[in-house]
Symmetry: C2
Subunit: 477 residues, 2 copies
């Protein structure tokens, strides 16, 4: 029995060492500690440690205890989280989306599949300086909770920025969320019940669909016009045919097609919905990334009834990893407050205060000007390179802002198959299939233009072009 | 028309100044900027600015622009988020819970209504040092996304801590969440569909109930024994009578009653559920806060089928405001991953890496030892003070760990009425009513023992005691 126990403890420790939980040089827990936890005699634990020492895995140091040997070489590297390379013919849309989400934060892939500016384009040094200052000046405040609705200073800054863009929203009409996706999540759970119909544009951000499915909500798609986004006539037609509980639209540089719904159409759509008392959830994450001289308006500017719920974040412009977004829920404040509170109480204090102070110092607009120019240059470079290296028949979007390109592949080339082939070569892309519940975009891919132009990026796009070329020739043969 | 426009701009600016969005000394947006945004002539904006200057609200500085005067005195202070003092007879449970949640982060209340250690008890200086080091050494990494499942280093540290407590969970079996409540949220959305029955103990943390209601799930309550928590016989009986989809239990120092489900009962309950294939969602946020020498076990230690989903966080022990929790979803990893991804993609990078490095430096256990001792002392002091200052007939729980006391008021005293009276005197409490869907705990209150003992705290409890005394006499008269 005791023999069995010591081997069990030895195996547990070996597992922790090989998984990297106990890294080379780490101190092992004391004999007494392991004995108390595992409810075995100290001598049994010592037996396990001795066995590991014999195997050259750990070493004892006088008066210090046992340590993992620094020269442990024969052990395998710590495992990466499994990223199954699922084959296209066996998976559903939801698994496909997971496969795309799994590339978020993966440092080993050329990140053409995400929608996020490269860290190089973000003011990380300034943010770090502000963080250091906050840690120095008021460390105590940073560990405590903020109210459910978030930092007052951050909400004041957001109110001020909204006012500068022509939108009158007071700090107490804003709730801070963990990114824009959480804002959307809060909006959907505040407004919609299982079985309801929600109107969305297609293509649109794949997480909307997944969020709706997950809530048991039916999505009804109207086309997103490649340049003009949502058309009022389409909205009106859908309202006539279906019992719509709410809409979710991305008027400014829609992800993935980059379309921009004109101001006049925004006004018209808000009026259409107001007449029927239907709420409109607006995603404005890319609104600040306009290449032209003026920021496009938002639906909420035309909202006189509190029916527009604006969702946005700093994830495409300042600090994706901080997870700072917000919701301006209009007349649905109470509902949104309750959903936020029961989802995760409130968002993190240090990151909220960090952004609040950064904004207060007034450097954000200067950063945005530089970011917009670079994103535009990078987008242009990718457009040109795609047109040079992809086969004839490829079409590329011409967005007036945002950070993604929407590429239509030559007829017959399947974007999911392309995703797997590209992944095998260290390149992530987002296949068009996931941007709609219908199969209309199987021949599209979305490319991230948030990466600094480089030889590596150029080679990656070239490689993609050859893969598409191969698939096109094979399909045409 | 132009006259109307300039007054409108003037009013908007005044509103921003009085709401604190533009604080004293702040620079106003440039004339050209406002002109472009509001689509009016520069001269119209200048007219508005001149009017504000005449009123002594703003001042122009040569070559710098317009600024809010620092001596603006006549303006009202910036508004606080409205905290309606709703009267008990008009509100429902959900509004009552909102009223309690609104006290989170409110610096002006004596926080007896929350469940959270005072910042004074937390190692905020050490955490700030780690934060400063991270900002210095790798500022770039902190602005980027982490993978959906969270920081690998943090998950390694959690895996190591689990191993030390006798639980074998690998880093790739853990997903980081925004606090334990989000872990619970992810668990519920992964396992349960609208219309399902979920078994919970009563009393239990009010957010469980609200989360279940919000998801359209029916909660079935079994009693939480004041000392022994969940009893296997009660679980068995409920399983015989209802079609149960999942259970949510807090075995270690249940919030609010402080009960501790014994190890033998845990083992029995896991076996009961495993026999029927029913998942068990376990909340272990207070498990590290044991006053006795050893940490109590968790359900998950007895789980051989991957049916136990463990949820926990650092919010009761280290850094509530960082919003760092985790879920160990067992065989439901895929479902949990998808829910987390569609809720808010991933948790914040800086706070995750901050805690990971703090844990890696090995100071957490020492902190926990001090924290446990202080929480025990504080709890003892409150128990004694309640027994001295509350009327006869009051009963107080005797938890062996955790950070809350459960007080049964003398017969006839209503906890919701007490909450409103206490709030009017600057004291927050959590009324028993919210800890169950049934009205069994209307005569209980939960008190936070996470505050350092102080004269102010003593006076607050004394004041509560007199309020209860008054209500008791009035009720008895």
């Amino acid at each position: 029995m005791e023999d069995y126990r010591y081997r069990q403890i030895e195996q547990q420790l070996l597992q922790q060492i090989s998984s990297g939980t106990l890294s080379p040089g780490a101190r092992l827990p004391s004999l007494r500690h392991v004995s108390a936890r595992s409810r075995v005699a100290v001598s049994t634990v010592l037996q396990a440690y001795a066995a590991l020492e014999c195997k050259g895995v750990i070493e004892s140091r006088p008066r210090s205890g046992f340590f993992v040997r620094r020269d442990v070489q024969e052990l395998p590297p710590p495992p990466r989280t499994p990223r199954p390379l699922l084959r296209p013919h066996t998976i559903n849309r939801s698994q496909l989306i997971s496969a795309v989400l799994e590339t978020v934060g993966d440092q080993e892939l050329l990140p053409l599949g995400i929608n996020c500016p490269s860290e190089e384009l973000l003011p990380y040094r300034e943010l770090a300086k502000v963080a250091a200052r906050l840690s120095r000046e008021n460390p105590k405040r940073l560990v405590g909770y903020l109210p459910v609705e978030g930092s007052l200073e951050l909400r004041r800054q957001l109110s001020l920025r909204a006012a500068q863009a022509g939108l009158d929203v007071r700090p107490e009409e804003i709730i801070i969320t963990c990114g824009a996706l959480e804002a959307l999540h809060v909006a959907v759970r505040s407004l919609v019940r299982p079985g309801d119909n929600v109107l969305i544009q297609a293509p649109s951000y794949f997480c909307f669909q997944q969020l709706l499915e997950n809530q048991g909500v039916r999505s009804i798609e109207i086309p997103s016009h490649p340049r003009h986004g949502v058309e009022p006539a389409d909205v009106e037609r859908a309202l006539g045919r279906f019992d719509i509980r709410a809409c979710i639209f991305t008027p400014n540089f829609n992800n993935p097609d980059g379309s921009l719904t004109p101001d006049s159409a925004k006004r018209e759509i808000v009026a259409l919905l107001a007449g029927r008392g239907i709420p409109l959830i607006e995603d404005d994450v890319a609104g600040d990334l306009h290449f032209g001289p003026t920021r496009p308006s938002v639906f909420k500017m035309y909202d006189e009834d509190g029916l527009v719920v604006l969702c946005s974040s700093f994830s495409k412009t300042l600090c994706p990893g901080y997870r700072i977004g917000w919701i301006m829920p209009g007349r649905f404040y109470r509902e949104a407050y309750e959903v936020k509170a029961t989802t995760n109480v409130c968002s993190a204090t240090p990151t909220q205060e960090n952004v609040a102070l950064y904004l207060r110092e007034g450097r954000y607009d200067r950063h945005l000007r530089v970011l917009r120019r670079k994103l535009q240059e990078q987008m242009r470079a990718i457009q040109l390179h795609v047109s040079r290296t992809f086969p004839d028949g490829t079409r590329v979007s011409r967005p007036e802002g945002g950070g993604v390109l929407w590429v239509e592949l030559p007829r017959g080339v399947d974007s999911v198959e392309l995703m797997y082939r590209a992944r095998a070569e260290g390149i992530s892309i987002a296949p068009g299939t996931i941007f709609s519940t219908q199969d209309r975009f199987a021949g599209h891919v979305r490319l991230n233009s948030g990466n600094l132009w480089s030889d590596g990026l150029a080679r990656g796009i070239e490689r993609l072009g050859s893969l598409v070329g191969d698939m096109f020739s094979a399909g045409g043969a």
